[in-house]
Symmetry: C2
Subunit: 372 residues, 2 copies
DNA sequence: CTGTTAGCGCGTTCAC
DNA sequence: GTGAACGCGCTAACAG
């Protein structure tokens, strides 16, 4: 292995000069710099990361904690990761991914205490999140993608679910929909306090009430099968539902398949609007799903920027007003992607033929008495 | 930060004794060991990764190079990652993920030359792969998930596509299918030499010929839209096709949606069999997709085992017969998941009404004239 | 602008 | 069984 010492010797300068030439920490004459650079490339030198970390007390690594998702990741989350990796690189950091579930706080603890990363990004935040507490306790700089309920002094970026719901209800109401359902993440997620699910639900219920709409909230497992079963459940709840807002990509696919199987038209009989959905998903359905697209890439870039700023400035933010500093916390909007799944509300009573509430026995719900 | 020195002082022993107590490199009396351990946990000591790496010349980190996939990752790939991370941990390594495309060989080069990882796993291998060449040149231990065409002295694990195709054709032939199509990955992937796509295609063509079946190979972009359009293309190629084997999950979803839209029955009119598909996908379609499931978790574990063995034994394998050593290379089989998408071949001529070969120009089909 | 030097925290080879 | 001492390769004062 060729070291800085070798380069220094070859260039006829001292070791520290090589270091300064590389890191540009100090003015160096062009002549010596080019001698050094020449020697470096001639010898094929690359600096040793461990030595640099040890001496400099910085690893130049940022970690991203991802939950192990049994369903795989959609395009949104991957856009996020890519954008984050790119932005990290532009700040001189490399991004490593640590797959840890919410329960793995101890592992997180271990890794950060070894100083493997200078800072950490945490995704899929729960209102109470042990990983976040571990990071907080370890005094490691971190930024949340999402928000715990306790926010004081913490850095975060999040999707503006409130605004997204506002847009969604605005559009649906304008189309005449009055009975609207929200197909959420699983009951398990909601009960565990998954931030996105809870904030969306709350915004949905509150804003629907304000607008005088009939709102139905249905948690649903993240599987296509559960999405299919949701059809029976939803119209069992309220046969007058004409629109579904969905936060659950996988379930949405099942939902639309089941609607098709029953012969219901989208958007003729039912309108569907995806929330925080990726374009890849929207085109998977027939008709193409209208959606409020999650700002994956923007979130990734913003999250890294914030994390770097926390690292650079230290965690000195304790004054109460600091919570709203734009370099510490940001809400990003979803953008509307038009599809073919949105239409005017149908008069439910007008097309009883298309609206069978009869369920399939299999995986499924029972009969319900039709109560008009 | 609490160091080994601190622990040594607190336990009343010397620094090296602490090191030995931790690494169990040398016999230590139980009395002193427990004193050391007690001091460690009392002070909350965790060793500094950089220092350990520098002194020990091993980073205890393995890297996994993933391609940035615009469509997101399915469950299979994520199972692989999880299994690999777990297995790595059991070997005392942590697994970091580096998202690098095939063109990013230079970045790979840079990272490994900094000795950030003791070994590297590379996924989604192309027959000629610059990342692999870079690793090879840098003399970094690595294991491929997939295979380059040049294999001498290289460690790899791969899915047994040959066997999978054998199973697939065997089953389809037994159901009476004679005109069978393969819906492959994109033409771009095939042209670039993506190993899985090419090996599957070749096996498909060769084995179909051997069995006297009519084989059609269709590359298809990894989008649902392209999958929909594939319907027109396939039956344009050969109206007598009664079964489709698919290696392209995203396209499969579109394919099935389009079949449904045209009113074709699966498996009544067409049988569909997924190849190297994950269970999450199989349940997304209606009817549930029959598939040869990719051995994601097994691949992950096996890949790590091999990589560790390469690291431990050094790259000394140059003798020609070494290429078949089971600790260096392994082929893993897919397992059959029955679904509802497989049935006996229909007599094409018997149901001309359902079979039209007319292509839709865009994503949005109009009526077609029935041409018997 | 450049050179000298003292560590960073730990693994490991020696002596004891 | 234990301890002392050296060095891994580099950063960052501190001196010129």
């Amino acid at each position: 292995m060729v070291t800085m010492q070798d380069v220094a010797a070859a260039a006829g300068v001292s070791l520290s000069t090589v270091s300064y030439a590389i890191n540009q920490n100090r003015p160096i004459s062009d002549a010596t710099r080019s001698r050094v650079l020449e020697a470096m490339s001639r010898l094929g030198y690359t600096r040793n990361a461990a030595a640099r970390t040890l001496a400099g007390r910085r690893s130049h690594v940022l970690a991203l904690i991802l939950p192990p998702s049994p369903e795989g990741f959609g395009a949104t989350i991957w856009q996020f990761v890519e954008a984050a990796a790119t932005r990290a690189e532009s700040h001189g950091y490399s991004l490593v991914i640590w797959p840890f579930a919410r329960q793995d706080a101890a592992k997180v603890q271990r890794l950060v205490s070894q100083r493997l990363a200078d800072g950490v990004l945490v995704m899929e935040i729960f209102l109470e999140d042990a990983r976040v507490e571990a990071l907080s306790a370890a005094k490691v700089p971190f930024t949340m993608i999402g928000r715990t309920s306790q926010l004081t002094g913490r850095s975060w970026v999040d999707i503006d679910f409130d605004a997204a719901i506002d847009t969604a209800l605005e559009r649906l109401a304008a189309l005449g929909h009055r009975h609207i359902a929200l197909l959420n993440h699983s009951a398990a997620s909601v009960d565990a306090g998954y931030g996105a699910a809870i904030r969306t639900r709350d915004a949905f219920v509150a804003q629907a009430a304000r607008r005088g709409l009939i709102a139905h909230h249905l948690p649903c497992a993240e599987t296509a099968l559960a999405g299919r079963q949701a059809v029976g459940q939803l119209w069992g709840l309220d046969p007058a539902i004409t629109a579904v807002v969905t936060l659950n990509e996988t379930a949405t696919i099942g939902l639309m398949a089941e609607l098709a199987r029953r012969g219901w038209q989208v958007p003729g009989d039912v309108s569907i609007l995806g929330l925080a959905t990726s374009p890849a998903i929207t085109s998977m359905s027939l008709p193409a799903l209208a959606a409020l697209q999650a700002p994956g890439a923007a979130l990734g870039g913003a999250a890294i920027d914030q994390l770097v700023s926390v690292i650079d400035q230290g965690p000195e933010v304790t004054s109460s007003d600091a919570d709203n500093r734009p370099d510490r916390s940001r809400l990003l909007p979803c953008s509307f992607i038009s599809g073919d799944s949105l239409g005017p509300a149908s008069l439910a009573s007008a097309k009883p033929s298309a609206r069978s509430t009869t369920d399939q026995p299999t995986t499924t719900p029972k009969e319900r008495k039709s109560t008009p």
